[in-house]
Symmetry: C2
Subunit: 252 residues, 2 copies
DNA sequence: CGTTACCTTGAATCTCCTCAATACACGTGG
DNA sequence: CCACGTGTATTGAGGAGATTCAAGGTAACG
């Protein structure tokens, strides 16, 4: 609130030096694409941990890209039940549904402080009209989300609690690695057991007990927010896991 | 096999008279779009009931639109477990994932004889480059599939068996109605109890017993393949159901 | 008329849920 | 610095919902 003597960090990251562009899992931009995206970007938004970024049923005028931090996408049902659809991390797109349909079909909350790149959704049509490469990326991203949801559905519908947890840990680890968030076999996961339980259609009690059993094998460690995968291959066997991403990922 | 005296029906439907275009839930085509789609269409394929249209892990050179019939999209897991992701009906796109990623992430089987419109996936890029309206439709379709999977995930993760079945019946009915397959509150559903069970993450035994209980209320009738919804509003209450489609649907 | 696929029902079992209580970590204010 | 409140994690006990196993029953098809 009050002015401080020290300089504030620059509030907006210029697209040219966007940290996401460094990641190997993103395709390189054409010069014209970069210029367009730069012109499209209307600002940055920092959502504090615990706040809602997008609300189910709302008609947000913005489309976001996550620059840093973690978020959670979820649906609320009657009696306070919640289904977590997926966790969002740097490079993920938020709010596409509001741009394509009249309104959001789920909500998004910030798990940590989240820095978001903001685009006005009115100009989406310009993107489709003049930048087919970016339009293609958009379809790619939507289709990848579909793939991930299909995997989660198979998990919740067919795997035991034990397999589901193993699967979700591997899934999060894989995605975090691609987003540059993992350090070796270690990862800071700002996800509570309640979040996990809601993602996998389990009660928090059963999640806790299953997690305890999994930790007892020694294949993982998870204290506070620090997750370590100590025996990835056995965890993969347990979860019948195959990684989803198979091609380089687009930027927007 | 042998030639018959009566004339065979024309093997390919010209795009101008495509029955899908009549449906109110599809947006109208621009003239150039229609011409392009016509040139893109490389033929028609009829898949017999019970056959596999697209195989998980395969790299199909074709993209399909369902012209008539029902199909089922599913993933196979270990020990013969199967998760049904969704049921496909006229107007649905099949094989987008093989076009965007290296390979399919799930399989698709024909439930009835299915007539498919065939497009070569190599020319997808032309579509993005020259027909932004169609590219937009493609994104729209991918995003709608994502929405549907999110709903199913919420269903399997959070609803009781009773609610899940009610939800799925309403979901199928809504979609069938939009595809012109329902007659009033009646619908021919080529879906076995095993298909239903695999879609909702339930055993076939429990599905059967729950279905029996639901039929006993008199709200639905389901004999052979004929489903009738007799009290839609109570069914909706039971399922906490809200329809997903909220905007007119694109063509391709 | 026998085969096959699908549907139905009962019984025993087990996974997972709810209820309930306690423990632990962290931040806040006295 | 300690007491207290809040959110999260942990553990036990009992019960409900869903699973598996097993056995018929029914309709369609060649």
């Amino acid at each position: 609130m009050a002015s401080r003597s020290e300089a504030r960090p620059p509030s907006v990251t210029p697209c040219e030096s966007c940290p996401l562009r460094q990641l190997s899992s993103f395709r390189p931009f054409e010069a014209e694409e970069l210029a367009f995206v730069k012109s499209l970007k209307s600002g940055e938004l920092v959502a504090e941990a615990g706040t809602t970024i997008l609300l189910d049923g709302s008609n947000s005028p913005h489309l976001f890209t996550v620059l840093s931090g973690w978020a959670v996408r979820y649906k609320l049902l009657a009696e306070g039940r919640r289904q977590v659809l997926n966790f969002s991390m740097p490079g993920d797109l938020l709010g596409l549904q509001a741009s394509l349909f009249k309104e959001m079909q789920h909500s998004v909350d910030a798990l940590t402080d989240v820095r978001l790149c903001v685009f006005p959704r009115q100009r989406i049509w310009e993107l489709f009209k003049n930048y087919p490469g970016l339009a293609f990326d958009m379809t790619w991203l939507a289709s990848r989300e579909e793939s991930i949801l299909a995997e989660h559905l198979a998990s919740v519908g067919q795997r035991s609690a034990y397999g589901r947890i193993a699967y979700m840990i591997l899934h999060l680890f894989d995605r975090a690695r691609r987003s540059g968030l993992a350090r070796g076999n270690k990862l800071t996961l700002p996800v509570t057991q309640q979040d996990l339980a809601d993602a996998m259609g389990l009660s928090i009690v059963h999640t806790n007990k299953t997690l305890k059993r999994l930790r007892a094998t020694g294949w993982i460690t998870w204290t506070r927010q620090d997750l370590t995968v100590r025996d990835e291959s056995r965890l993969r066997d347990l979860a019948e896991y195959e990684s989803v991403d198979k091609a380089p990922r687009p930027f927007i």
